[in-house]
């Protein structure tokens, strides 16, 4: 993938980086990762999962039924993991640059 990932897509991939998860668990993990800033709705989640599956970045692994509710688990693939790593490096570079620039004294400021 050459284009940068959007925030929800990146967070979904990060949520799946350490373990396989089902839809509800992904929503809760994304909420935790974003500090409660991003709460995915089911329509957004399944649209993103669909796209990521088509691109081969995640794959469904198994299904189970809990209290009559069907749950499908998703896991990250090898190319998905590489994609997250690339994106994380790029984001950390931007973050480092932002910190350096914010730490500098504003140009033209007195004292």
């Amino acid at each position: 993938m050459s284009h940068p990932l959007r925030e929800p897509t990146f967070l979904i991939l990060v949520a799946l980086a350490d373990a396989e998860r089902h839809g509800y668990a992904i929503i809760k993990e994304v909420e935790k990762l974003s500090g409660g800033r991003l709460v995915l709705g089911p329509g957004t989640l399944y649209g993103a999962l669909d796209r990521l599956s088509d691109e081969g970045l995640i794959e469904p692994t198994r299904t189970e039924s809990v209290d009559g509710r069907m749950r499908r688990y998703y896991a990250i693939t090898r190319s998905g993991r590489e994609c997250v790593q690339t994106e994380a490096i790029q984001r950390s570079q931007v973050l480092r640059a932002a910190k350096v620039r914010l730490g500098r004294r504003p140009r033209g400021a007195l004292a």
Partner: protein
């Protein structure tokens, strides 16, 4: 079935049929997990999100506009849209979609023709500067009448031959579709004729 589940299943009709079959129960399960305990109505934000997600999924499954027009004009789409073609031609409302597609192709043809003819129409307006309503122009009047007649003929002919158009398109995309006079498949089991 609880009231919340019924509401979610109604909203799922915004999703493509293939998605509903493949992951409808999964979406319902996740959505029910998100509904706060004790609520009988799902939150409005979730309803909007489910509707928007379904419309986005429909849009994503569709071929781009130019491919769609090519398909409506009788062309064959690449394999990645094969599933969409099957649902387009077999789900309820297929005849309505075929007729609408034919009309869309006709409108594009008219638009292209007008854009080609526009310089000459414009020149005739300059040569005859008398102020007249544009719809009074004999050329445009004739064109509107002809377009209306052609539209009527296309709708009638398409409605009459819709089944043939559908069978031809299904065959073109590699689907087996029995002709109306073919024997049923699989054949019925042979009747036992042994006398006791």
């Amino acid at each position: 079935m609880t009231r919340s589940e019924r509401q979610i299943r109604v909203l799922l009709h915004a999703w493509p049929v293939s998605d509903r079959v493949e992951r409808g129960d999964e979406v319902v399960g996740t959505s029910l997990d998100l509904v706060p305990e004790g609520r009988t109505w799902i939150p409005l934000s979730m309803a909007v999100n489910l509707l928007a997600g379904g419309l986005r999924a429909r849009w994503r499954r569709r071929p781009p506009m130019w491919w769609w027009l090519y398909y409506r004009a009788g062309g064959r789409l690449p394999v990645k849209w094969r599933a969409w073609v099957f649902h387009d031609l077999t789900d309820p409302g297929w005849l309505r979609r075929i007729v609408a597609g034919r009309l869309a192709v006709m409108l594009v043809n008219i638009a292209i023709s007008i854009s080609i003819l526009w310089p000459s129409i414009h020149a005739s307006q300059i040569n005859h500067p008398a102020v007249r309503p544009v719809w009074w122009d004999p050329f445009l009047g004739t064109a509107i009448v002809v377009a209306t007649l052609v539209t009527g003929v296309i709708v009638l002919v398409t409605c009459r031959t819709g089944t043939k158009i559908r069978d031809r398109q299904l065959g073109r995309h590699g689907f087996f579709w029995p002709a109306r006079n073919d024997p049923p498949w699989p054949p019925p089991p042979p009747q036992s004729t042994a006398a006791t």
